[in-house]
């Protein structure tokens, strides 16, 4: 292992230790304060022991417990964290893949034809900045299904980065490479698949990665809104139960799954990168 690697790992562990230490310190302070509550406050139940920000050790204990049987299902209000994450991932993938299938061909079209580009540009510019959650009421009314509505919201938020990056990637294909295809007498389909697509793939993957990131951000919020299942609903439900340990634990899990999804795409994109 190189010297730099050792330094990196040491620093990383140090940060982890600091988080634990400060976390523990900050939260035990909170508990001590509660013991010094006035009689009035105790009477009013303001110092309820279960409603407090949990320390790292508490969260860790819960994590071990939850992750040892993540997929249990005891009815609508008691599902394992794995089950909830599974629902969320499923929705994200459904909306996301739909966006991929639609955005890449349209992006290609926009990138290849200035007419399409200019014609669609104003619509894209207006639709793009709309918060995906703003679509939710309309989606619920039209689709009349909360699960499909959150899939739609994911779809609508992932489509723009993929669309624009595909178009941009296609537009910035080097003229020299297109000249190569012309002098080789390639037809439009051959040019699209053998020259433009491989040339644009790195840029397309940038879009795919951004969209996946946004989708994972949005699904949590969407599920808080529509309820039922999913990690977003789970967080909100635990908040209603005032179980902050579970809230912190699920926040952590949201981060880890998000990182996993991002890693999945960035690793895949490595196969399509090229260096000039």
């Amino acid at each position: 292992m190189s010297r730099e690697n050792i330094q990196t790992i040491t620093l990383s562990l140090l940060i982890l230790f600091l988080i634990f230490f400060i976390g523990e310190l900050a939260t035990t302070n909170g508990e001590r304060n509660k013991k010094e509550l006035s009689e009035y406050e105790q009477l009013m139940g303001l110092g309820e022991p279960q409603a407090h920000v949990p320390g790292p050790i508490e969260v860790l204990k819960l994590a071990v417990k939850e992750l040892s049987h993540p997929f249990y299902d005891n009815g609508p209000n008691d599902k394992g964290i794995g089950t909830q994450l599974f629902y969320s991932i499923l929705r994200v993938l459904a909306g996301y893949l739909l966006a991929v299938v639609i955005a890449i061909p349209i992006g290609f079209l926009i990138g290849m034809s200035p007419v399409f580009y200019n014609a669609l540009q104003p619509y894209i510019q207006v639709l793009k900045p709309i918060s995906p959650l703003a679509w939710m009421p309309l989606a619920l009314f039209v689709i009349k299904d909360s699960i499909l509505s959150s899939v739609f919201v994911i779809f609508i938020c992932s489509i723009w980065p993929i669309l624009l990056n595909t178009a941009f990637g296609v537009m910035s294909v080097k003229k020299d490479w297109l000249n190569v295809s012309k002098t080789l007498e390639m037809g439009p389909f051959e040019t699209a698949f053998k020259i433009i697509l491989p040339a644009a793939l790195p840029t397309i993957f940038t879009g795919l990665r951004i969209s996946m990131g946004i989708s994972w951000l949005v699904i949590v919020a969407a599920e808080m809104l529509v309820g039922g299942t999913g990690i977003g609903y789970y967080v909100w439900n635990e908040w209603n139960n005032l179980d902050l340990t579970s809230v912190v634990f699920s926040i952590l899990m949201i981060g880890i799954v998000g990182m996993g999804l991002d890693l999945l795409i960035s690793q895949t994109s490595k196969y399509f990168m090229y260096q000039e």
């Binding site: 080097k174 002098t183 390639m186 040339a199 260096q275």
Partner: protein, 295 residues
């Protein structure tokens, strides 16, 4: 002898931005022809329109007026019969050296099997001595190696006419010399018809049968066509001893330094008649000198 390639009254104009109905005329009245197997270089100052002429020959660009006829057919769009070696090699960076060439071969020789395509690709890579780099990606190659891959790709397609736009412009003198030798050797074997742009007059004399000289732009012309009367095969060490070498070289230098701008002025003032252009220039009197030496 039947002309293989004929360029008639070629002209290129660009509209000037912001001014209606005024045009920048890059070149006009360009006339020249080429025979099968001929190696022709074109030399001229930067911006006179050499690349534009080459792109017109390739069919990647179209002239404002005039026409180009190759093998009795009008040149209108790019074709596999006209190979191009671009200045910046233009290999596809996501394909290995071998795959770059295989893809090109597959486009031209559709009847070949995968095995035959690979065999042909390897043959031409060996020709440019790159058999050890077949698996490499273009960015892993030096500039000279990339240019050699470009040459291999172009020759593997066996085009009727090969067009080269300053193929060695970006290389250092040593590498450039080596690749020129390689090109000489390959041309000797294949008798490839080549049209090449260069800024290097020694390169032009070493490689070509004829050198076209362009006057300065705008309204550039091909003013002269200089025959390189030095027998082939040539090699760089001996060619300088040929009595025609310095005659030709001095003529080219004089043209580029003095005449190219004088002609440009003359054309702009209408004091020069371009109907006889390009003027054929040939240093034939030394040919018997050569014979006498041989005796």
């Amino acid at each position: 002898m039947k002309k293989f390639l004929e360029v008639n009254q070629l002209a290129k104009k660009y509209p000037i931005k912001g001014e209606k109905n005024t045009f920048l005329s890059v070149f006009e009245n360009i006339n020249f022809s080429m025979q099968k197997g001929e190696f022709v270089c074109i030399v001229g100052h930067s911006g006179c329109g050499k690349s534009t002429i080459l792109n017109n020959l390739a069919g990647l660009d179209s002239p404002s007026s005039g026409n180009i006829i190759m093998d009795n057919k009008n040149v209108k769009k790019p074709s596999l019969e006209r190979g191009v070696i671009f200045q910046n090699h233009s290999l596809l960076p996501w394909l290995s050296v071998l795959k770059n060439i295989k893809m090109a071969i597959a486009c031209k020789f559709k009847e070949l099997s995968t095995k035959e395509i690979e065999k042909r690709a390897l043959h031409f890579l060996e020709m440019v001595e790159l058999q050890d780099a077949v698996k490499k990606l273009p960015h892993e190659l030096s500039g000279g190696m990339k240019q050699r891959v470009g040459i291999a790709r172009a020759f593997a397609l066996a085009p009727e006419l090969l067009l080269m736009d300053e193929p060695f412009g970006a290389l250092d003198a040593l590498t450039r010399g080596k690749i020129q030798d390689k090109l000489l050797e390959i041309c000797e074997k294949t008798n490839q018809t080549i049209f090449m742009i260069t800024h290097d007059i020694d390169e032009a004399i070493l490689l070509s049968d004829r050198i076209l000289l362009m006057s300065n732009g705008p309204q550039a012309r091909i003013a002269e066509s200089v025959h390189v009367n030095i027998p082939k095969p040539r090699n760089r060490a001996e060619i300088v001893n040929h009595p025609n070498y310095y005659l030709i070289r001095n003529h080219l230098v004089d043209f580029l330094i003095n005449k190219s701008s004088e002609i440009a002025k003359g054309i702009q003032n209408n004091t020069i008649d371009d109907s006889e252009m390009p003027k054929n220039v040939s240093f034939t009197n030394t040919a018997d000198l050569e014979n006498r030496k041989a005796m």
